[in-house]
């Protein structure tokens, strides 16, 4: 017997909140993207736990699609970061203030 499902869900919630905290408070674009990765990972953890609790494979299939979404998101995100670093010369979100409005 492993732990109750609530403990798995609690761990996933703490991980998700840590990721949200990271992507909200940090000012570096790469750290914001890392926060999004942590959040996706926490969602996958909750899905795997649910898949074991109800003895259904659907949860694990969803984690497979979360992996695909995370991989393409990080590819596009890093390309965007490199592109905007070329344009503005910085990866700090505070320096992206060229729009005067």
């Amino acid at each position: 017997m492993i732990v109750p499902y609530g403990n798995v869900l609690l761990l996933a919630i703490i991980l998700f909140l840590l990721g949200a905290l990271c992507s909200v408070t940090r000012r570096n674009l790469l750290m914001i993207l890392i926060g999004v990765e942590i959040m996706l990972n926490a969602a996958g953890l909750a899905f795997v736990g649910a898949s074991l609790k109800w003895q259904l494979l659907d949860g694990q299939a969803f984690v497979l699609f979360i992996f695909a979404a995370a991989a393409s998101e990080v590819a596009i995100g890093l390309a965007l970061i490199v592109y905007s670093q070329r344009r503005t010369g910085s990866v700090n979100a505070d320096h992206y203030n060229r729009m005067k409005g």
Binding site: V3, Y5, E37, L57, L64, F67
Partner: protein
Amino acid sequence: MTLYSIIFYVLAVIILVSTVLAIIQRFLINAVVYLILSFLATGLLFYLLGAPFLAVLEVIIYAGAIMVLFLFIVMTLPIEQPERRIMETLGQGLPVVILSVISFFIAGILIFEAPGSKISLSTGMATPAAFGQFVFKTYWFPVEIASFLLLIGLVGALYLGRRESKKGSEDRP
């Protein structure tokens, strides 16, 4: 308190500590390396929860591909001054922390008041063969969509990352 629950709690502590250490680092390299440790421990947790194929995928995709991509980008970009402090002012970080604590407690109450929340999970294992047959029988269409998503990601990254031509393309990516 069986052996499996002890393994679960040890892995949970490793995951939480390494993630917290990752998000408070000022230098990106240290954060990425701590995060690799966190993802490896998450892969072990997937194995414990009966998903060996996803555990392998977690190690290959998250700890292998995504974090190595981050490391490449961190090494490619020119070094700039790290952030002086993690949270610039108290007014910036305080609302986030307060809202996180509130939502954490609400989620905890909801979880542990649910019926059947004291029953421990029994161990189980989905073999990779059974998992593959299930995915390709039931979810064949989302698999196709996921493959298109990856293709679009590849094309988009190539388009955004190409070298700018010499003249007249200032306003185009």
